[in-house]
């Protein structure tokens, strides 16, 4: 019976530790954000979030996120597909490089693009000639967002595709199914939940990206400010209501993503139960 007692103590200690930790590091700041956002009343809050710059920042954030998710879904699927289904030289290198954005600091990611597309770059004359603006403009922000989020989808897909093996695809191919049919009917159903989960993670990360975007944006209000940059700007300007109101938009978006994630996990697990 001593063992059981010890376990109960351990159990409750762990539970209380986790709860305290979450309360201190997550719930409290969230409450504080909302409290500060509404500190000067609903009207002030409403004014802050309907401020034209706030709306523009939110729209730019959504735009960058949509681009990043779209591009990374395509890239993630192709990368995961080629890494798991084919044997070729340089496979190890590709799969190592995919992880790079996770390990490299976002600031460096931003600087890489400044160096690649900026005035000192050998590409600049070409970009200038065709009037293409990348850095200090929306394309730069999109590029930076894509860069920091591109491992998320492929990293979700690779383990699933590896576990699945080739048999079902081979069976379908032997019966005369075309590559696209095989992908749609056999491969995609397997990776559906992993893919959606990757998309959710990618979205969350893309919306919150600050470092890389900050380097590339140039901080032009209403033009190249994303929500996180806009929040920082307001905060530096002592506009706490504005900063926290804008934060609350991000928080709401994040919560939506979080709920989606939980729902997806549930659906995915249910599918696994039936179709293990």
């Amino acid at each position: 019976m001593r063992l059981r007692k010890e376990n109960a103590v351990l159990k409750w200690t762990l539970i209380i530790t986790c709860e305290l930790f979450l309360a201190l590091f997550l719930i409290l700041p969230l409450v504080f954000i909302l409290e500060t956002a509404f500190a000067q009343g609903l009207a002030a809050y409403w004014n802050s979030i309907t401020d034209q710059y706030a709306i523009k920042a939110a729209l730019l954030t959504l735009k960058a996120t949509l681009w990043a998710v779209g591009v990374n879904t395509l890239f993630g699927l192709s990368a995961a597909w080629c890494i798991t289904k084919f044997a070729f030289r340089g496979k190890k290198i590709i799969s190592t490089f995919i992880d790079l954005p996770v390990t490299v600091s976002p600031i460096i990611a931003g600087l890489i693009y400044v160096l690649t597309f900026g005035r000192q770059s050998f590409l600049f004359p070409l970009l200038d000639k065709y009037d293409i603006e990348i850095i200090f403009a929306a394309p730069g922000i999109i590029l930076a967002t894509i860069f920091v989020t591109f491992p998320f989808i492929s990293r979700e897909l690779i383990p699933v595709l590896t576990a699945q093996g080739f048999d079902e695809e081979e069976a379908a191919a032997l019966m005369g199914a075309r590559t696209w049919t095989i992908f749609r009917k056999v491969t995609l159903p397997h990776v559906k939940w992993a893919l959606l989960y990757g998309v959710v993670l990618c979205t969350a990360r893309a919306m919150g990206e600050f470092g890389a975007v900050s380097v590339l944006s140039g901080h032009l209000r209403g033009k190249t400010n994303t929500l996180p940059l806009y929040i920082e700007l307001l905060y530096q300007g002592y506009d706490f209501t504005g900063a926290f109101a804008a934060s609350s938009i991000l928080v709401v978006l994040t919560i939506v993503v979080l709920v989606l994630r939980v729902w997806l996990e549930g659906r995915g697990n249910k599918d696994l139960d039936i179709l293990k």
């Binding site: 048999d167 069976a171 032997l174 019966m175 005369g176 199914a177 056999v186 179709l275």
Partner: protein, 362 residues
């Protein structure tokens, strides 16, 4: 199998001088096979012997480095697997997990754009054939191992292939169901008359199911023949030691009525070559029997395995559970009917000489 035989046999599937390498590993070395139409053939070998590679090359899932693969008189090396008219049953079954049993079976026909009514008719027909009527809305994970295997079989048969290839069809099924399925599959294939090749590492399975067995070893074909031929008349040392329950014996001329065929030769003895008699029980071989002592008696369910020591060698044999009981330490008469003598690459089956002498006496 000689060249002349090949031509007489009117092969449906033929491999001519096929080689296949994976890096440094030779999966197939100059493989020549010929399989007549309607035959049920087992490719038998231990793992890594190249049997699955042969099957996958016939299906078009692998490409040979050199040599020709011929199906129905057509060289199919450059024809994709989907146009070779083959049905393939994977070891893991590879059923489409996210499709129902019905959709699984219908897949091959839908891909070929067959009209829905014909598909429905064919699927119902196959469901009936595999005794899975009423399971059409289930997913593969909701089926038992045996049912999955039969659905995989039906799926492979749906597009009416001329050739059915099965990779270790019973490997993933538990022992009891496996025996039932073997019989079922054999009857089914015989009934349909479809030329079939299956891969197995289990010699009992090959012997029981196949009309003809091709024994593979280290990427090469060791011997082709009916199960009985392989059993009674092994052509290579590998086949002699691979088929049946074998035990090697050096200095086999120590047994009475067997002569040594020269230095360096060794013998292979199988339990069914040996009869063990309780003292006084033996009528026929009383004069020519060896004297042995029972070392161990092991209950094998349907029979007893008797380990007997003769001249410092322990030899296994079987005995019916209905026979009188032998105890360890008991002296017994042992009669050895025959030995398989391995002389380098050659195989000689040597019969007990006293059999001839006795038959002269009788």
């Amino acid at each position: 199998m000689s060249q002349a035989d090949n031509e007489i046999r009117d092969a449906y599937v033929e491999l001519r001088g096929v080689n296949k390498r994976f890096g440094d590993f030779y999966a197939s070395k100059n493989v020549n096979i010929s399989i007549p139409k309607g035959r049920l053939v087992g490719l038998l070998g231990s793992s890594g012997s190249g049997k699955t590679t042969i099957l996958r090359m016939i299906a078009g899932l692998e490409t040979p480095d050199s040599g020709e693969i011929i199906i129905d008189g057509r060289v199919v090396n450059d024809i994709p697997g989907s146009e070779r008219g083959v049905g393939f049953v994977f070891q893991s079954y590879a059923l489409f997990r996210y499709m129902t049993v019905y959709d699984n079976i219908a897949f091959g026909l839908r891909v070929k754009k067959v009209d829905a009514a014909t598909i429905d008719k064919r699927v119902r027909e196959l469901l009936k054939l595999i005794n899975c009527e009423g399971l059409d809305e289930r997913f593969p994970s909701q089926l038992s191992g045996g049912q999955r295997q039969r659905v995989a079989f039906a799926r492979a048969l749906a597009p009416n292939p001329q050739l059915l290839l099965l990779d270790e069809p019973f490997a993933a099924i538990d022992a009891k169901v496996r025996l039932e399925l073997r019989t079922w599959l054999r009857n089914m294939i015989t009934q349909l008359g479809i030329t079939s090749i299956f891969v197995t590492h289990d010699q009992d399975e090959a012997i029981e199911v196949a009309d003809e067995i091709i024994v593979t070893n280290q990427g090469q074909i060791e011997q082709t023949g009916t199960p009985r031929e392989l059993y009674v008349n092994p052509k290579t040392p590998f086949v002699a030691s691979f088929i049946g329950n074998t035990q090697p014996v050096a200095n086999y001329d120590r047994f009475r009525y067997f002569d040594s065929l020269g230095a360096g030769t060794r013998a292979i003895i199988r339990p069914e070559f040996v009869a063990v008699f309780k003292k006084g029980e033996n009528q026929r071989f009383v004069k020519s029997a060896e004297q042995g002592v029972v070392e161990d008696v092991i209950f094998r369910g349907s029979n007893l395995e008797i380990k007997t020591r003769i001249h410092d060698v322990v030899i296994s044999s079987t005995r019916s559970i209905n026979d009188s009981i032998l105890e360890p330490g008991e002296p017994v008469d042992v009669f050895i009917y025959r030995l398989i003598v391995v002389d380098g690459d050659k195989i000689v089956v040597q019969n007990n000489k006293s059999l001839k002498e006795e038959s002269v006496f009788i």
